[in-house]
């Protein structure tokens, strides 16, 4: 699973950091860093984080596969 956070929208509520601390971390007071590729054992936590985000800034899904059509 891949994630991207719309940091235009992110306001630093940091709900994701509490729900999936191995994936999301605050960098400074409100800058967000995250693992773009989600380890399998974190997928459920990331789903919860995406659902809990007050500004709905987290998009999780699969990337375009190399040989895609």
């Amino acid at each position: 699973m891949q994630i991207v956070v719309d940091l235009t929208r992110c306001q630093g509520y940091a709900q994701c950091v509490f729900l999936a601390p191995d994936v999301f971390e605050l960098h400074g007071e409100e800058g967000l860093l995250y693992a773009t590729a989600v380890p399998d054992d974190q997928v459920e936590r990331v789903r919860q984080a995406a659902a809990a985000c007050p500004v709905q800034a987290i998009l999780a899904g699969e990337g375009v596969s190399a040989g895609a059509r």
């Binding site: 992110c10 960098h27 899904g61």
Partner: protein, 457 residues
């Protein structure tokens, strides 16, 4: 007829953020025809902002930033092959492998590339990098992980500053050379550029402003060893990152008859490309960093934006308009917004800070390194920048959208003492910077005429 617009052949040239989001939106809007996405890089669409942050910090590898899809695009992804030309009469896109793709409607989303160091021989020295693609980021991250003695960053725009910040966080010595008076001055003006300079120096960056790099030096084996500066000084370093802004990928359109030039491909508010006579086309659309478009909030000047959010928003509007009949088309009127994290600060901007004559510190203070700066032009709010105050940004966005008077009215509880003191915004002429600002007013700065600088590289 609307039914016809849902069918046919659509080609998207550009397989990054704008190209991907446009492809998804086309399907979402009911397009059932054939969809082909052409990309010159071999990689499926990936996200670029993490490349100068997570990747350089060593927290993620460069090949793991693939963008998640919102939905299946049912597209033919032609990756690793560049478009080399466009025949608007025959309605074909020519590809580097000799093939030509017929289309009924075309979306141009070829974005930008890093501006290279102007001397090709010096640019090819081992240890000299630019940072735009995941391959470039991977190579640079590898060098940073090896623990270089010093990194030289040329250009203190957002990318250069983020690179310097990542180096310092990893304990790597870094020198930053900027032609302008301070970091970020081209994007944010005088007040916040002073804070940026303080942040660089407090974090141990050897910041040199008002200088240019004249020569990159190598040893006998073609390895980068250092650089000469215009003030006569010399910097010894193992790695050099050239962060001189971006060049728009328009060369492939040179013979197309479209209004494509160094500042991008001109289009109307509905993302339809103009031809070179200024006549709008009906089947060629533009989105993302390669576009420039008129914005009513900023004097209808043509804006070109290198912003993540703009790529998404404009791609969605372009895709909608590609499958919608005239009266149902929408304008792209999103207020420009971007962010940067560097030296532990979260900097967010809304509006166009360079479209300003004065600023006020509306909340917080420079000393606290937590503040909101509001920009005004001729008595109207045109932009705001927050530092570690992202929750306030929507309020200021509302002021911009409603053309609120400047200085802004009382609106927040923690109003700064300086809130009524307007100071000049000190936006410099872009030609005096070593990086390109990420928002370009492609006509005029509000109070003076711009000099068009043709890239020499």
């Amino acid at each position: 007829m609307p039914g016809d617009l849902q069918d046919g052949r659509i080609v998207i040239v550009g397989a990054s953020l704008a190209g991907l989001r446009a492809a998804e939106t086309l399907r979402e809007e009911g397009f059932t025809g054939s969809l082909t996405v052409v990309g010159d890089e071999p990689h499926p669409p990936y996200d670029r902002p993490p490349l100068s942050k997570q990747v350089l910090l060593g927290k993620a590898s460069a090949d793991t930033t693939a963008l998640p899809m919102r939905r299946d695009t049912d597209a033919d992804w032609r990756l690793g092959v560049a478009a080399t030309g466009l025949d608007p009469l025959e309605k074909r896109v020519m590809l580097a492998d000799g093939e030509s793709l017929p289309f009924d409607r075309l979306l141009i989303a070829t974005g930008t590339r890093a501006r290279p160091w102007p001397n090709p021989e010096e640019a090819s020295l081992d240890g000299v990098f630019t940072l735009r693609t995941s391959d470039e980021a991977g190579g640079l991250a590898e060098r940073l992980a090896a623990g270089p003695g010093r990194v030289l960053v040329i250009g203190a725009g957002f990318t250069g500053s983020e690179i310097a910040s990542a180096c310092r966080e990893r304990g790597i010595e870094v020198t930053v050379a900027e032609r302008g008076p301070a970091p970020l001055v081209g994007a944010l003006g005088g007040t916040l550029s002073k804070l940026a300079a303080v942040m660089h120096r407090n974090h141990g960056v050897d910041l040199r402003c008002g200088v240019t790099v004249t020569t990159l030096r190598g040893d006998g084996n073609g390895r980068f060893t250092g650089a000469d500066l215009s003030d006569g000084s010399r910097v010894d370093a193992d790695v050099c990152v050239v962060a001189l802004g971006a060049v728009r990928n328009v060369e492939w359109l040179a013979e197309s008859g479209l209004a494509a030039g160094p500042r991008g491909v001109a289009c109307d508010a509905g993302c339809r490309a103009f031809n070179m006579y200024g006549i709008v086309t009906d089947d060629v659309f533009v989105a993302g960093d390669v576009s420039r478009f008129p914005h009513p909030l900023f004097g209808y000047q043509m804006l070109s934006l290198e912003h993540w959010g703009n790529a998404v928003a404009q791609a969605e509007v372009a895709a909608h308009n590609m499958v919608s009949p005239g009266p149902l088309r929408r304008p792209h009127l999103a207020v420009p917004t971007f962010w940067s994290t560097q030296f532990g600060l979260n900097i967010k901007s809304v509006g166009v800070p360079t479209y300003s004559d004065h600023v006020v510190i509306a909340q917080g203070s420079l000393e606290a390194r937590r503040l909101a700066v509001v920009y005004g032009f001729q008595g109207r709010v045109t932009a705001a920048v927050t530092v570690d105050m992202a929750k306030s940004l929507d309020y200021y966005k509302h002021l911009i959208e409603t053309a609120a008077p400047f200085p802004p009215p009382l609106g927040s509880a923690d109003r700064a003492i300086a809130a009524d003191i307007t100071i000049p915004s000190d936006v410099p002429d872009p030609s005096g910077l070593s990086h390109g600002p990420t928002v370009a007013l492609t006509g005029h700065l509000p109070d003076r005429r711009l000099t068009v600088v043709q890239p020499t590289g």
